[in-house]
């Protein structure tokens, strides 16, 4: 493989893979997308490139694999430093963006998936409350981060837009499947508008999975997770 060849091991439903794709699109980097059907089997290349977690996304740059979606996004930002910046330039703004991205992965996304995956109405209700609380925090964060512009990154999409925006497909799925409202024009007006701006962005619109396809996939995923009796 040439030293500047890019491959991305991923799967179309994965929000984490989407983050890597959006970052590469922002920088206009060409890459080969290698679809993994991780629920069925993991390729030798995936197992070799990510022996620690055996998970997607994995970005392979030349011969070197980079794993973990947010680490990939930062890597892409640093390698293609001459392209549009993904992390903000100010250190404090960077810290704020990083803080919220960590929050999304550690706290918010688990409560989002628990709305679909947990057993019993009480557990689902608690998960929903936590997810809504998180969105309220992000609604507030948007005002501070965007500084009056359309994105968390200001006038262009940035790190936190990518970190949260990658989950929008799944937010829509959960709204449909659980019959709940998460991003709502009256309750979270900033996020509602931002959702539209983000989803329509050139770097995003062609890689964002279609909601109906994702709904079908989610039915399959829930059945597999619950049916197997393991988490």
């Amino acid at each position: 493989m040439a030293s500047n060849e890019m491959k991305l091991l991923g799967a179309w439903p994965s929000p984490f893979v989407l983050r890597a794709r959006i970052a590469l699109n922002i920088k206009s980097v060409e890459y080969e997308f290698m679809e993994e059907n991780v629920l069925v089997t993991k390729s030798d290349l995936l197992l070799k490139s990510n022996p620690v977690y055996k998970k997607i996304p994995v970005l392979i740059h030349g011969e070197r694999p980079i794993c973990e979606s947010l680490i990939i996004v930062q890597y892409v930002d640093e390698v293609w430093a001459s392209g549009p910046a993904i992390l903000p330039s100010d250190p404090y703004d960077r810290a704020v963006a990083r803080f919220w991205a960590v929050y999304l992965d550690d706290k918010w996304f688990p409560s989002l998936t628990a709305i679909l995956m947990s057993d019993g109405e009480e557990a689902k209700k608690t998960a929903l409350e936590q997810a809504i609380q998180g969105l309220d925090l992000l609604e507030e964060a948007f005002t501070k981060c965007s500084k009056g512009q359309n994105f968390f990154g200001g006038d262009k999409i940035g790190y936190l837009d990518i970190a949260l925006g990658s989950f929008l497909g799944w937010v829509r799925v959960i709204q449909i499947m659980a019959n709940v409202s998460l991003i709502d024009e009256s309750k979270t007006p900033n996020l509602f508008k931002w959702d539209q701006d983000f989803s329509g962005h050139d770097a995003v619109k062609d890689v964002l999975p279609e909601t109906d396809k994702l709904v079908e996939f989610s039915k399959f995923l829930v059945a597999k997770v619950k049916g197997s009796g393991t988490k």
Partner: protein
């Protein structure tokens, strides 16, 4: 303008130590504000409303939370003595392993510490498997950062600080000098480093603290 740096932390938290070591490496003056986690100060609750946890770095009145985020902030703000490597791939690797330490390695070590019997054996085995990845990282190096302490050394500081204490209390062996010669050497080099040793929490207090933390888990099992 004179920089005002405050670190909200506890006497023992390895996450708090990450921050003060980073500030020391950069030659920065700061004030520690010691927190009692059973009685959190208004300042802590104001500066970290989301998690209500330490550490918090307060720089000229602005709070930054989450220890690894704080390390990157310190590195972004003060360019002397870089903590992260310059090369983007090496940076990605440092970030990856720091996260692995927190997300995988530490939980596996805790599972060996908080349990007994078969569950403990399994926990210890998993932890040892995870430690093998870390041993490989030190090949040809004194520190994870190379010749000097860097981001990943600070991120792994909890290993040097806490593992031997857990081993002693739970009567388990995780870092055997024969199996892990490089990690063993690193623990010694790190903990005796002049920048590090002055802030090292006293071992006897740590043992007391971790015994107390472990107790409820053992009672649950009985």
């Amino acid at each position: 303008m004179a920089e005002e740096l405050n670190v909200l932390r506890t006497w023992s938290s390895p996450w708090g130590l990450r921050v003060v070591y980073a500030l020391k490496m950069k030659g920065l003056e700061y004030e520690t504000i010691l927190e009692d986690l059973k009685n959190k100060s208004d300042l802590l609750l104001e500066h970290n409303p989301v998690y209500k946890k330490i550490p918090v770095l307060v720089h000229n009145g602005k709070p930054i939370c989450e220890s690894l985020v704080i390390l990157e902030y310190i590195d972004d703000t003060w360019k002397q003595c870089p903590l992260l490597p310059q090369d983007p791939y090496e940076r990605a690797m440092a970030r990856f392993w720091a996260k692995f330490g927190d997300d995988k390695l530490l939980p596996s070590i805790r599972s060996g510490f908080y349990t007994r019997g078969k569950e403990q054996e399994e926990g210890v085995a998993t932890a040892i498997g995870n430690l093998k990845f870390i041993e490989k990282l030190l090949k040809g190096k004194k520190f994870f950062g190379g010749d000097t302490i860097g981001y990943l050394d600070l991120a792994f500081g909890w290993m040097a600080n806490v593992i031997s204490i857990m081993e002693e209390i739970a009567e388990i062996k995780l870092i055997d000098a024969e199996t892990f010669p490089l990690i063993s050497a690193w623990i010694n080099n790190f903990s005796t480093h002049p920048m590090i040793k002055d802030l090292w929490p006293p071992r006897d207090r740590m043992i007391e603290k971790y015994k107390a933390i472990r107790e409820p888990y053992l009672r649950k099992e009985a």
